[in-house]
């Protein structure tokens, strides 16, 4: 069989960095979501770009699927080996290659995680701002076009990746840009690989933007009588041009579970969690403007924290919201939805979603990066009861349809993988065919992460 031939050649090439051990296959067949375990035929651990190129050439010669693997935290089954093949785990390619402090950029290998990167940067006065909560790899983050709590201020991976080195489906190695901060030189290939979920090539190096660590930071939690008042406050703050660094919504249900899990003491109400970055004066002024708007919208309570420990605790609590929810429902699993709508339609999208969930037997606490119009319901179901997964899927599908009706997208940040394939036609129409044309042009054999993002044939 062709794949077997590829595996033999890969074993020769990589020696002990090629494995078929049960444990590794199992681990690389696992996803953080509700998908069944789907292991690859083998896992390889390349050390450099040339090795990645050789790996892909061998796979191309034998029609063997090639699936990139970063930290495995993606939520739509992105990295599952649905057609077998090999998982290319970038854990040994995790170096910082070049910190350019004056240019505020850094060149890294794809396997480094964002926490490792920020750890290495801590003495430079700079940091990498994209923060999906999970300790994801830069290669995976770029490939999913991820974002998170800080996108409202610093953008998503789309805005923060300057250039890439990529190994194409035939093993060729290309660079998609320079370190210049802008360029009008030809098609935006960097943008094409960001969000491509490994279906067009493997990212072997990234140049990403850094930001200056702010002189002052202040964060607050602010409870509201209802969700509409919270969203109005967000919209008005944005319109005043106040650059919030983070602005997160959590509903009353989530607040309770977060309290139980993280020891916070949030009142039983919908909340905004906010952070401002800047100079002392700027942060103080922004906080004041926000405070006034919140009060005008009937905010119930307000707690500022300028101490780093308090802030750390706050954002850890927010980032652990998913785990807090799971802890409240032992033995259950979660389906995380991820719609994003124009912010003028956000209150409606959330209200209708909440009504849907209230009418359903499943719990579905809501959290959201509301400054971007992006929110998640974590639909909790019993994996032993098939009807519960069906119900979660039904709710999720209603959210997706609603997002499209309201001028939005079915995924603000998690991506398509397998889980959102069913909505691509509805969201993109003929543009989805165009994505298929591009895929065929770049990977005519369909060996790069087959079964994901584009229409399967």
């Amino acid at each position: 069989m062709a794949i077997e031939q590829a595996l033999e050649e890969l074993a020769d090439l990589l020696e002990d960095r090629f494995t078929r051990s049960e444990a590794e296959l199992e681990q690389h067949g696992h996803s953080e979501a509700y998908f069944a375990n789907t292991p690859p035929d083998a896992v390889v651990f390349p050390r450099n770009t040339n090795e990645v190129s050789q790996i892909v050439k061998i796979c191309a010669a034998h029609d063997c699927p090639v699936i990139g693997w970063g930290a495995g935290t993606s939520l739509e089954g992105h990295a599952l080996a649905v057609r077998g093949g090999i998982s290319v785990d970038f854990r040994h390619m995790n170096k910082v290659l070049d910190v350019n402090a004056e240019d505020m950029d850094v060149v890294v290998q794809p396997g480094i995680t964002r926490e490792e990167l920020n750890q290495e940067l801590r003495h430079t006065g700079l940091f990498f701002p994209v923060d999906p909560g999970a300790n994801a790899s830069l290669g995976g983050m770029a490939s999913t076009r991820c974002s998170g709590t800080t996108a409202v201020r610093y953008g998503t991976m789309r805005e923060n990746v300057i250039a890439l080195e990529v190994v194409l489906a035939d093993g060729r190695i290309i660079r998609t840009g320079t370190r210049a901060r802008k360029s009008a030189s030809g098609y935006d290939l960097t943008g094409m690989f960001v969000g491509a979920e490994g279906t067009l090539g493997l990212i072997t190096e990234l140049t990403v933007r850094l930001k200056g660590q702010p002189e002052a930071v202040s964060a607050a939690t602010c409870a509201f009588p209802d969700m509409g008042a919270a969203i109005d406050t967000v919209i008005q703050t944005i319109q005043m041009g106040v650059p919030m660094a983070r602005i997160e919504f959590i509903d009353a249900a989530s607040a309770g579970m977060v309290n139980a899990y993280s020891g916070t003491a949030l009142p039983d109400a919908p909340h905004l969690l906010i952070e401002f970055h800047g100079s002392d004066t700027v942060v103080a002024e922004q906080a004041e403007t926000f405070g006034e708007l919140a009060r005008e919208n009937g905010a119930l309570s307000f707690e500022w924290s300028t101490k780093p420990e308090d802030r750390k605790r706050l954002w850890a609590a927010r980032h652990n919201a998913a785990y807090a929810i799971f802890a409240a429902f032992p033995g259950k699993r979660g389906l995380s939805t991820d719609v994003c709508v124009p912010i003028s339609n956000l209150a409606q999208a959330i209200a209708e979603t909440q009504a849907d969930i209230d009418a359903s037997p499943l719990p579905g606490p809501l959290v959201g990066h509301v400054g971007d119009g992006n929110f998640h319901a974590l639909l909790v179901f019993d994996p032993e009861v098939p009807a519960e997964l069906d119900e979660a899927m039904r709710l999720s599908s209603r959210m997706a349809d609603r997002a499209l009706e309201l001028g939005g997208t079915v995924t603000g940040e998690h991506g398509i993988g397998m889980g959102k394939l069913g909505y691509m036609q509805a969201e993109h129409g003929e543009a989805w065919d165009v994505m298929g044309q591009l895929k065929t042009a770049m990977d005519p054999q369909n060996i790069m992460n087959p079964g994901k993002l584009v229409r399967s044939n």
Copy 2:
């Protein structure tokens, strides 16, 4: 002949919005740069997307080249009909379709110019921030991935286009995104058409981001003893995290010509022109920080202007720099270079360029969007003396080579068109072949603006 057949069908379809008049052909064969007049076979003026689709279908049926035409201000011969065919002039498709103030976006047709758009927005408290100086069309601006004086704060067209409607090379109409502010839903088709210079399809509608008109604005001119001191000030200001809305460099030669043309009174020295946007407090604080850094770097003079008329005069003077230079050399033409390098290498790039120009018989005043590492030499030559154009080309080519050596790009904002084709292999290597593959996938007949951006065959 096939094109003749297409012209007949187009004339039937469009009646008086189809023309072969000498004057129109001449005007649509003209560029703002040094290229010879290269008229199309006909010009058409569609009124809506369906007409554009029909036009492209007719052209596809007869292998007739199709070239979009916005305001015709591009600088690399982008819109010239080098293989004949038709020019699609978007002047009748110039409406604002939808202002979404809460979402801070607007949906427009491609023929609207940025001044018309900002005129229509003036009562909303919002504005469209991308500013190339010239009164370009939104469709042309997206297609060249243009930017200008405000990119350092608000980004380029890449960051400001949210979604497009595009007519593909076979006449299909697609939408490349929704009004959601971010999305992880499939390949970034919006990004693929932004900067594609009309080689992949015609843009028939754009959704772009708006910004809030700042509460306070202050602008200054600041003279320096030498260029290095000016650049150091820029780098330090960026590193302090001070968000400049504009930061422009002009050399002593340009300053003199600007004075003569616009009646300003800039001292005979290299200058930075700066603008800050924000609240009163924020702007005051930023101006102070900048002032301190400038003084530490030996600034010679400093003039603040918070009055709108003064600022208007200042930026008009900057935007007219090219015309000021031409006025200083009656009868001459200009070749505008456009390199962009990592900012840590900017002082070196400018110094070496200045030395080259000093050693050449041609004048070449320098101006630059230095916050992005982007600068232009306007190389002035006598169109009647072929050796002078050769010399301008030689200087331009040395600048391009140097930009690549210093980790930059041959075009920060003007684009490739025909003028920069010769540098694409050096800048992109195999990635240029990938652009060719994408072009072939999207436009197998090569009817969309042939002879531009990708390798010609």
